[in-house]
């Protein structure tokens, strides 16, 4: 008997028993590793698969998650930011996806630049972590085990994209995890004194759903998918990843740093919106953020 069969039987044995007398009819069931086994009907009950930490650290070797961000369609609607904060139960000051107002010099065109974690294929943050609290999975995701993180912040220093945020205080993370997934995959609850960041929502992927930011975007800016399958979707359209990148001349941000991100950008050409629209209807606090950046660009190039 193979080791796989043992673990399969072990899983079945873990099912809840029911006290129904008289039904000792045997039925055939298939274990997760494809072995056919027999068990009495009374012992069968539905069980949801709990994702252990070990499993969460490994990921699915048959997948390679990527995100494509269409800069031509972003108008700083900020729905992705809000839904991400709500979903991960983050306090207002923590933004795992940030939207930058980019204008490289006085004469170059401005554009809105949503920036999640890039889940790099050569992640500097993972290299420097002294305890393996942040790690790279087989499916390309870079996640954080906030039960292991010691809060040294070295990963924040190593990340050139400022994608990581530190949980400075205790409050704001009180929501419990769903009990089915390892907190590594849900990133809930965040722990004070540790580092958090965009996790590409692997818990949603396991349920066959898209990350919330993808669905929340009213303009279909964000595409998410599996590079091995060569498909990405923004919730409305599903397209071939390679074709999208080829046709729209997709690129990765700051390729010169050698971090090899899993996030691709489509250049802001033939835009759907005037970038100035992005400043409309913003709360004052958020608009002021960009004012600082805008005045600085003017000052520097003068």
């Amino acid at each position: 008997m193979g080791a796989g069969a043992i673990s399969g039987a072990g899983m079945l044995a873990a099912c809840d028993r029911k006290d129904e007398a008289g039904s000792d009819k045997k039925v055939k069931v298939m274990t997760t590793d494809g072995k056919l086994v027999e068990i009495s009907e009374s012992e069968i009950s539905e069980v949801s698969h709990v994702i252990s930490n070990e499993e969460a650290r490994k990921g699915d070797p048959n997948k390679e998650y990527v995100m494509v961000i269409d800069l031509a369609k972003c108008r700083n609607a900020r729905k992705c930011v809000d839904v991400c904060q709500r979903m991960h139960n983050l306090p207002q000051e923590d933004e795992w996806i940030k939207i930058y107002y980019m204008k490289d010099s006085e004469d170059s065109a401005p554009y809105w630049f949503p920036k999640p974690c890039f889940h790099c294929n050569s992640p500097s943050c993972v290299n420097v972590c002294p305890v393996g609290a942040t790690f790279k999975r087989l499916d390309g995701l870079v996640l954080i085990d906030n039960e292991r993180c010691i809060g040294c912040k070295f990963c924040m220093a190593a990340c050139p994209y400022s994608s990581r945020v530190f949980n400075w205080k205790e409050e704001g993370f009180n929501e419990e995890s769903d009990g089915l997934h390892s907190t590594i995959e849900t990133s809930i609850p965040q722990k004070a004194g540790t580092v958090g960041k965009c996790d590409f929502c692997p818990d949603m992927a396991r349920m066959g759903k898209l990350p919330s930011c993808i669905d929340a975007c009213p303009n279909g800016v964000l595409y998410y998918g599996d590079k091995k399958e060569d498909l990405v979707t923004n919730g409305v359209d599903t397209v071939r990843f390679s074709e999208l990148i080829y046709e729209r001349a997709g690129y990765r941000y700051m390729e010169e740093l050698g971090t090899r991100p899993s996030v691709y950008y489509l250049p802001p050409v033939n835009r759907s919106f005037d970038p100035e629209i992005g400043f409309k209807d913003l709360p004052d606090e958020i608009r002021e953020r960009y004012d600082v950046s805008r005045s600085k660009i003017k000052k520097e190039t003068r």
Binding site: V128, P130, P160
Partner: protein, 437 residues
């Protein structure tokens, strides 16, 4: 063992602080203890409330704690390099100052890592550093290097003190508390000054002084790589390891001279710590200062001339008098040129002026560490688009001030208390010299 007359005379003359405490000393101790105590509520508040009570935020996520960490590890070079090298070269004038140097090393190597602990978000998980250690991480290199260095320095200091412990154990005229004699006896490990024991100790010290030099170089290189290995402007530099090493010896020598000045005044050691020591160490300081100035020049010239976007942004922050300009002027010009001028011109070479120059060096090197850390973190590759001022600019909170000052008080206090327990002038060594003369 039987003590010679010279040894007893040496003890009376240069280790009298073991037996008596002046009012000034008592006053200073109370003063320092008050500062140490002041740090306790700060420590408690930070422990309970978390890092939110510091000035650190998402962009500038490392602050003055890491500055202090580099600073203390830096001054620990005094003992390692100065006493190690001087011992190996058998320089005769090293004898009265060698223990001061080694004490600086040990105390600052203990104190430095405490600051790195203050920087950690989850102190309760400290054991993870061992449990889940990953050798790829420069922090693991640091943990290994600093631990080894600390053990090495303690052994070095201890080996060089055994003979003095034996003297203190066997000197019956010593008027100290009764509890001390058993400790001296224990620490003297039945040393009887036989030919064989003397050779063993001598060989031990020689081996340690050889080991401690590359170890010290390694420690500061590894420390610089915490910054050098990242892709940030001002940090990602191949020059960083040697630059840190030179800056460290420079500041260590500065602290050594200041400590010599203080002990000389405090314990009236004018006859044994003389202008000669200040001059010789001053010249070492001059050479190191020139080296450090050269490195600084090379580093900033290359970055400025190359004028890469982020490097330039950083350099303009350092040059701008509204931002870090004054600190930069102090660390890169005053902290280099002033000591060089004072020491290079023979007329200026007095004990007080050399000590003053050294104090300037020490402060400048602290400021230098500050402007290595903070401006770079305020200059990330993606722009900081923020309205909250504390997320844009770092400033120390009173908690950080208190813990910094408290740490300094701890350093001084330990330094002082050690000198009350062990002669700071190595009696065994100096009486040897005396009897030869």
């Amino acid at each position: 063992m039987k003590l010679s007359d010279t040894t007893v005379r040496e003890l009376k003359r240069h280790a009298h602080q073991l037996e008596s405490t002046s009012t000034f000393e008592k006053f200073m101790v109370v003063f320092m203890v008050l500062f140490v105590i002041a740090g306790i509520p700060a420590l408690y508040i930070q422990y309970v409330e978390g890092h939110i009570v510091t000035g650190m935020r998402d962009n500038v996520f490392w602050g003055v704690y890491i500055v202090n960490f580099i600073f203390y590890i830096g001054i620990s070079y005094a003992g390692a390099l100065i006493s190690g090298i001087l011992y190996l070269l058998q320089v005769e004038w090293r004898k009265p100052i060698i223990r001061i140097a080694e004490m600086i090393t040990v105390i600052s190597t203990i104190l430095g890592p405490i600051y790195i602990l203050l920087c950690m978000g989850r102190l309760d998980r400290l054991h993870h550093l061992v449990q889940y250690a990953r050798i790829q991480s420069p922090i693991t290199w640091d943990v290994i290097a600093i631990t080894t260095y600390l053990i090495g320095s303690v052994i070095f200091l201890y080996l060089a003190t055994i003979q003095d412990f034996a003297i203190l154990r066997d000197y019956d005229g010593l008027k100290v508390g009764k509890w001390r004699k058993p400790i001296y006896k224990f620490l003297a490990v039945s040393y009887q000054d036989t030919e064989r024991q003397r050779n063993l100790i001598h060989r031990g010290i020689t081996i340690m002084s050889i080991i401690i030099i590359p170890l010290a170089v390694l420690v500061h290189s590894v420390l610089s790589w915490i910054f050098g290995m990242t892709l940030r402007p001002g940090w990602h530099s191949t020059i960083f390891a040697p630059y840190f090493v030179v800056a460290a010896v420079y500041s260590g020598t500065g602290v050594l001279i200041v400590a010599m000045w203080v002990y000389r005044k405090l314990y009236h050691l004018e006859d044994i710590i003389t202008i000669k020591h200040f001059k010789y160490l001053g010249i070492i300081l001059l050479v190191l200062g020139s080296l450090y100035g050269y490195f600084t020049f090379a580093e900033y010239l290359t970055n400025w001339y190359g004028s890469e976007k982020w490097e330039l942004e950083l350099i303009y922050k350092l040059f701008s008098l509204d931002e870090f300009g004054w600190m930069f002027i102090f660390a890169a010009f005053v902290g280099v040129l002033l000591p060089i001028i004072i020491i290079a011109v023979p007329a200026f070479r007095t004990i007080n002026s050399i000590s003053f120059a050294s104090a300037i060096v020490v402060i400048a090197m602290w400021v230098k560490r500050y402007i290595i850390i903070i401006p770079t973190l305020e200059t990330p590759l993606l722009p900081i688009q923020e309205t909250r001022i504390e997320y844009i600019h770092y400033s120390m909170t009173w908690i950080e001030w208190l813990l910094t000052i408290s740490g300094l008080a701890v350093f001084c206090l330990f330094f002082y208390l050690y000198s009350k327990f062990v002669p700071i002038i190595p009696i065994s060594e100096t009486s040897e010299t005396d009897s030869k003369e």
